[in-house]
Symmetry: C2
Subunit: 276 residues, 2 copies
Amino acid sequence: MNGFIEKLNACAKKNRSMLCVGLDPALERLPAGIPRSAKGVLEFNLAIIEATQKHVCAYKPNAAFYESLGAAGHRVLKATIDAVPEHIPVILDAKRGDIGNTARQYAISAFEKYGADAVTLSPYLGGDSLEPFLQYSDRGIIILCRTSNPGGADFQNLTLKNGKPLYMEVARRCKEWNKKWGNVAVVVGATAPKELARVRKVIGDQMPVLLPGIGAQGGDAEAALKAGLGSTPASVVVNASRGVIFASDKSDYAQAAARAADLLRKSLNRIRKSLQ
Amino acid sequence: MNGFIEKLNACAKKNRSMLCVGLDPALERLPAGIPRSAKGVLEFNLAIIEATQKHVCAYKPNAAFYESLGAAGHRVLKATIDAVPEHIPVILDAKRGDIGNTARQYAISAFEKYGADAVTLSPYLGGDSLEPFLQYSDRGIIILCRTSNPGGADFQNLTLKNGKPLYMEVARRCKEWNKKWGNVAVVVGATAPKELARVRKVIGDQMPVLLPGIGAQGGDAEAALKAGLGSTPASVVVNASRGVIFASDKSDYAQAAARAADLLRKSLNRIRKSLQ
């Protein structure tokens, strides 16, 4: 088993958690007393990581929230990733996708500069755009399959000539790309449980599914777990961002985030148990 | 006509040029005497811009080549964009695509922090992922339709139930998204002239097509222009990166880039004339 997938499963097992906390620190939602600046974002992230680390199987900073801070955001993202304890994998949510020559630069950025354990990628440019990432055999390559947003259906659910939707062709290719290094995972939104069930059948019972879309986006965790659970501790990695990190907008924000993360962790575990 | 499209056409007309120079300064290809560092990249970019600015209709820095430099790369990208004369549009080649809440952060980064005139985006996440960008009515939103890389066909050329390939559905939606602000353009690779001809029919004769894939990628400029030309000065914007900026690996690199850009500009104009 590949380095990232192994680390993810180990952390899910150790912390008895399917929960990934999304570190998406929108400036305007930072709690009272935290400066609305790059420095404030770092202070906030460090407190959130410190408070929630026993309750997660991974952290997922989304690059957009750091890029929008300018050059300082870059340093904050690096410092955030560095602050995550070694046994917890970090998924850099970047959704990159470019031609081979350029993809290689993005891979250097994600894996060598930031030191992320895994990165999310868009499949629109096809196999050769993913290859420079796949070559990092110890890292995770998490490919967008069926996203959680309303527009996710616009193209991803279009029916192909063979009668199957586009996202199923992406899932089929993900299984292929996984053969060499075993380092591929997929993104399917909790808002699309029917699609998730079909994807799980294609990818087998071990490939992790990163599942955004519960909480603010309205996805139903129970329906999604029923559709998506496989056989490994981290077969479904449930991402929660806003619902955890902004659980309180007051000075108790870190404790509130810890409580929210722990509640969600337990609630997911209860659902899992009820399905077994 | 929208601010970006207007600026692009005006610059194409003023410089009699369909050429966009891609500022993709891979460290290992910097000419002799230029330090292989962020500082060297900026020195290189400034010299390239100074030397080629009379021959282009736009510049297109690709974010990947700056991100891979770390935090310093961010400052270099900003300084590069700032160094482009006001009348020449800057296309930030970022190929971003994320859910609305996150896309808004990427839009802030591209348009407000970097001050780019236009940005390239991936359509995989659908309409609502593009909306935060489209709302910048004076900027350009350049959507990947049929990319120039070999893997471009993997998903983009899949035939849908209606008998049309996926990229044609993307083109159709681009035309729709363009209705509100007239700020949409598409990417079609020079390596796919048949596809380009079909896309041009769908998008009408004014929407700019950003055309990568000539030069290092082997696309045929004549076939592509025949397939893609519309009625406006910048109906096809031909991108060249490596073939221009790395025309010489010696200290004459800036003059060599100017010569390469001017030759390419003239060659494209000759082809255009021969097709009229």
